[in-house]
Point group: none
């Protein structure tokens, strides 16, 4: 297969526009065909959202962005395409017609894929010339972020076509799931559809609202599903005895009216099949190992959502605030011990702070040190009103020593020593530690300048703030000068 540089997209709804966004982010040019006069504007909105999301998602270099062009003419749109992806509404006649037209107008060797959620590929390819190069490539919304794409061929699809489609999807950051048999709804949508239809019954019967139903997923089972499917999850629900025990324990509940859907008969044959396939999935990992993997993923996901203060992340954040509120007052108080460096800031290496080697990236060290200087400024009495008046300490100079790497999820803390001060300047020295073992990870010497942002110049700190700064500086003057303080870059150790 030649390199794919130009993809024709038929249909520019939510799915088609999502494909366009993922493709241009991968440097691929796109030709969009859609009869909707608003399609161009909508696709541009999706592209903007996708670009915004990817800027957060990865620091990896995106060589260049592909271009999107629009074509009112289907045949012209597909003429020079290296691959065609159809994402029209889920109507068999409509899709079949579009696919047949596209297949007559394009080069005979290009893969033609359909984004259908569940129409059978054998039916979709029936009227196409060269039906062997047709395949279903079913993505999920938003296409530019979710990796899954179900790859399913029809009776006339060649193995080579499935392979080419899967390779292409993988090359643009997706996870192709190549299915062996075609069935209405494929695999993912059959599962989604069963859950969705059950949910519609619950609303229809007045049992629960749409919000309650959504909560029933997002605060519990949905968290697990973000990295493990139901079979592996249930293997763990069986405890140490695993899948066979789970099937024995919960087999009888399949007879209970816990869903409107009737389960298949749980024959010995079916149980053996499930247990054997589940054993393959487990790849030799014990239940305890899988539990730890599940827990590590859950912890990471909960922490990720905490940064968004949403759903289960908002629950965790509120709970932690309650735990913290039992704790520390932040402003300097009479009895505080100033006889040693202050310990004012704690942090944790959150997932987005690490590079692909799994270590905290260089710039996050400065972020933690900046947060520590902020904590010091709160400690000396600078509050929101002070900032609102345009007054702040601003970092003008920093010297960092990187001593050791640190992995995701590690708790950190910082100690802060005041090296000196005058009315406008505050000279501090931070040391960053891995809390678990007190290993020193980095140090930062910083010069802060007290500024009036509105006037755009330095000015003395407020007297009460300055008094606290001076009390700390006087107490810390008795401490030894920290190692690395006063260094020039590259200076030999004294």
């Amino acid at each position: 297969m030649g390199e794919i540089r130009n993809v024709a997209l038929i249909g520019a709804g939510v799915i088609g526009a999502g494909w366009a966004a993922r493709l241009v982010l991968n440097g691929i040019d796109v030709t969009l065909h859609d009869p909707d006069p608003e399609a161009e504007r909508k696709a541009e909105e999706v592209r903007k959202n996708a670009l915004r999301a990817w800027r957060k998602l990865t620091l990896a270099p995106l060589d260049h962005l592909g271009r999107i062009t629009f074509s009112r003419d289907l045949e012209a749109a597909v003429e020079n395409a290296d691959l065609i992806q159809e994402s029209a509404p889920e109507r068999l006649d409509l899709k079949r017609d579009l696919l047949a037209r596209a297949s007559r107008a394009c080069r005979p060797d290009v893969v033609i894929a359909s984004s259908t959620s569940g129409l059978l590929p054998s039916r979709l390819q029936a009227e196409m010339p060269h039906p062997e190069r047709f395949v279903v490539g079913h993505p999920f919304n938003p296409v530019y972020l979710l990796p899954l794409v179900e790859v399913c061929g029809g009776q006339q699809t060649s193995e080579e076509t499935k392979q080419r489609a899967a390779d292409f999807y993988r090359s643009i950051g997706m996870h192709p799931l190549v299915l062996g048999k075609e069935i209405d709804g494929f695999v993912a949508d059959r599962l989604l559809e069963a859950l969705w239809r059950e949910a519609l019954h619950l609303v229809n019967d007045g049992i629960a609202t749409t919000d309650q139903i959504d909560q029933a997923i997002a605060y519990g089972p949905g968290l697990r599903w973000s990295f493990m499917g139901t079979f592996l999850i249930y293997r763990l629900a069986g405890g140490e005895a695993g899948m066979r025990h789970f099937m024995a324990q919960f087999g009888p509940t399949l007879k209970l009216p816990w869903s409107r859907l009737e389960a298949p008969e749980l024959t010995d044959g079916l149980i053996e099949t499930i247990v054997a396939q589940s054993d393959v999935q487990a790849k030799g990992r014990s239940i305890r190992e899988l539990e730890r993997l599940r827990d590590d993923c859950l912890v990471a996901v909960l922490q990720a959502l905490r940064t968004q203060d949403y759903a289960a992340g908002a629950v965790l954040k509120a709970y932690e605030e309650k735990l913290y509120n039992r704790g520390h007052p932040l402003v300097m108080a009479e009895g505080d011990d100033l006889g040693r460096p202050l310990r004012l800031h704690e942090a944790r290496v959150v997932p987005e702070w690490v590079d692909y080697n799994g270590h905290m990236s260089e710039s996050r060290y400065l972020q933690v040190f900046g947060d520590s200087s902020d904590a010091l400024s709160r400690y000396v009495g600078i509050d929101a009103d002070y900032h609102a008046a345009g007054m702040t300490y601003y970092t003008v100079e920093t010297h960092i020593m990187h001593l050791r790497e640190v992995a995701a999820e590690e708790p950190l803390h910082v100690t802060t020593q005041v090296l000196g001060c005058d009315a406008k300047r505050l000279h501090v020295f931070h040391a960053l530690y891995r809390t678990r073992d007190e290993a020193r990870l980095a140090t930062a010497e910083q010069m802060l300048l007290h500024v009036d942002r509105r006037a755009g110049r330095a000015c003395p700190a407020r007297p009460d703030v300055l008094a606290r700064v001076r009390r700390i500086a006087e107490a810390h003057a008795a401490l030894p000068k920290p190692e690395h303080a006063g260094r020039r870059v590259g200076e030999r150790r004294s």
Copy 2:
């Protein structure tokens, strides 16, 4: 309700042991009753897993851990309990018997909750004295991490009991979902069960393996479900037109054989109910706002899973490695002008880089400088294979001067001067400019050390890399020493 200090747990399987772990982490003492002679050992395993997970989950101070004691005698176990939680196997007769016995032996005012996944509370409470204090509190495995607990009363349950149970669950970091009507399987398990039964059919019919079915969830829809349920997700699938459009567009697919479960008739009344309830859920947020919320959560979850190198996180990690490997072909060439500082890196102040004042935050300066050092290392010939061999230049020391603030969206560029080198060390000086007017924003002097990551120590760079570094250093030796190079923090200008 008095404070809950001692909880009796009836049943110490996966769920009961999970409750025990969550409770002791909240400083609550637990008495466990279970006939299994292995229960004590198993519960201790779960407690250890939970403690390990919580140490990663939160830095918040956990005042003290509660104690777990075991009791072979049900009546003795519940006698002094402030709350009772039953988690016996899902057999109505068994649970009813245990609950009746417990309710006769405990104080008359304590809440008695059942962890049942789907048995009706009205049936479970039928034989209890004081049935008004019985309620279902249905948690999800692992109980110590997942916040959801469905709270459902029977015909005889008092409102106060539901409220007391919900308050208690909230106090231990959970998210109580209080249901208005009882139904077999409640809400969550009806949804799970529909999906599960559909999955069993797929395996039974030989359509897909357990692993394929799990992948169909975990690499796609499951990622969304970790923070949004199906209704809100589908509101977004409707594009700008929202829920009404989605129901109109996908209504007809409810008639297709995409699941073995038949959907309810999609009457106008049902559509109106869903649209109205979905509007309430959206809380006035536009589709675009909800899309950005969804994308931010997805990005955070994907990054979280990347740290675990698992499921969708492993896909992202592999994809990023490929992007890095493609690298910029910016390797030094014969005709390059080495007579002035190199210009190897450009960037733009993306929105998430700015603080609440609208200026690029402190740590992003270091990020841009770090990227500039990376660009330099590519320029001297360090590529993906070099990194794969464990070799890299690692920043050990940085000195930054912050000269001027910069706003969002400004294009930036960096010039890089090599101040010196030896076989292992590379001493550089970067200057950051606002491209629009060449205003100098900051400078960074950095010392990079060439390291062998596997051996964990410094080592000389590869000869061809070193030769390029030396060529630049020799050419740059003729340049004037930059202002700010060689400074100590706080040093007076010379």
